[in-house]
């Protein structure tokens, strides 16, 4: 079966696109699917460090496009997961080195190589973003429950619809359940009301994400991490499973509830 090509994008930078791509890739690959992820952020690559593969890079996406190497030579295999590959972005080139038709051709060649192609889009709505969505079968918009991120997500969703890439689905990343309970953060319902698109996952804020980035080991591998669990659930939904959404706001122990009641948290 040819691969499904999924692009993650957001409009705003820093909402966790790269982390989401890395975690979904790890979760899909550890459940037995062959995954190739592509870093679409030419000139500002980061997916390699998040996955812990920065020391293995020999060739990058521009080398493939310009014919300096074969596709398979630019596919770096993960250290632990044998079904996970990364095609890194070029670091010393700018986004004009790649065109939409280059991306469509690359993705076409990858379709017979794996089950999932995950593309990490750069922030913004310019050329790099257009390239990243050009070959996608499906687009996931990543946002945070915060005014600027939601506003930018709405712009991107509108553009995706206009380009015939919709309907997009949403990952609501970095939800802080305590703030939501105290009505100091937009709730998942608020965000869905505003953006009016399908939800594919809610990822709670979790310190383990930073620890994972430090080590180059995405939290989806960590069975105890809440964010890791959320990413694994999203991966299962991508595979077509029906997985109930975890109600993060109603979680928490006795002390947290008491503090909530007295307004201290």
């Amino acid at each position: 079966m040819p691969a499904q090509v999924i692009t993650l994008t957001s409009g705003k930078g820093g909402v966790g696109k790269t982390t989401a791509v890395a975690n979904l890739a790890v979760a899909l690959a550890s459940s037995g699917s062959k995954v190739v992820c592509i870093d679409g952020d030419i000139g500002l690559r980061n997916l390699d460090v998040i996955l812990g593969l920065e020391n293995r890079i020999v060739y990058d996406i521009v080398d493939v496009i310009e014919g300096r190497c074969r596709l398979k030579q630019a596919m770096i295999r993960d250290k632990k997961l044998t079904d996970l590959y990364l095609i890194p972005a070029a670091q010393t080139r700018d986004k004009n080195a790649v065109s939409s038709s280059d991306m469509i051709r690359l993705v076409k060649d990858l379709r017979n190589e794996c089950e999932y192609v995950l593309i990490d889009s750069p922030a913004g709505i310019e050329r790099g973003f257009k390239n990243a969505i050009a070959g996608a079968d499906r687009v996931i918009v990543v946002t945070n429950p915060e005014v600027s991120a939601v506003r930018d997500a709405d712009r991107v969703i509108g553009i995706l619809e206009a380009e015939g890439k919709g309907p997009a689905s949403l990952i609501l990343n970095r939800l802080n359940p305590t703030l939501v309970r105290n009505k100091d953060m937009l709730s998942p319902d608020d965000v869905l009301d505003l953006l009016a698109i399908d939800l594919i996952g809610i990822v709670p804020e979790d310190e383990n994400v930073i620890v994972g980035s430090n080590r180059g080991a995405p939290v989806a591998l960590d069975q105890k991490s809440r964010a890791g669990q959320a990413f694994r659930n999203i991966a299962r939904r991508l595979k077509g499973e029906t997985v109930p959404f975890i109600d993060w706001e109603s979680q928490g122990g006795f002390w947290e509830r008491l503090q909530r009641l007295t307004g201290r948290k």
């Binding site: 915060e146 939601v150 712009r155 009505k183 100091d184 937009l186 505003l194 009016a196 307004g263």
Partner: protein, 90 residues
């Protein structure tokens, strides 16, 4: 949000965020600024007034959204002048 804020029923910051975003998104999606909406309103009043007498102060124009699609809603009260006049002549 503090306990006292809640006790006195102050609007929560999440509510402010949602309300502000609702307005911003309408304008982002339609490219229609509040100033343009006002000028559209004036044009509508002028055009309709040529055919029927309306209560210009009661005219309300809003952009409503249903999912991701937007809808321009105009509420234009008519003045019941003609009916009164006919009664008087009888």
């Amino acid at each position: 949000m503090s306990f006292l804020d809640r006790l006195f029923g102050r609007k929560t910051s999440a509510d402010s965020a949602k309300e502000r975003l609702q307005l911003v998104l309408i304008h982002d999606r339609t490219d229609l600024t509040p100033a343009e909406l006002d000028s559209l309103r004036d044009d509508l009043i002028a055009t309709i007034s040529r055919h029927v007498s309306i209560d210009a102060h009661g005219v309300q124009i809003d952009v409503e959204h249903d999912g991701r699609s937007q809808r321009l809603i105009a509420d234009i009260p008519l003045k019941a002048v003609t009916r009164r006049r006919t009664r008087k002549t009888k």
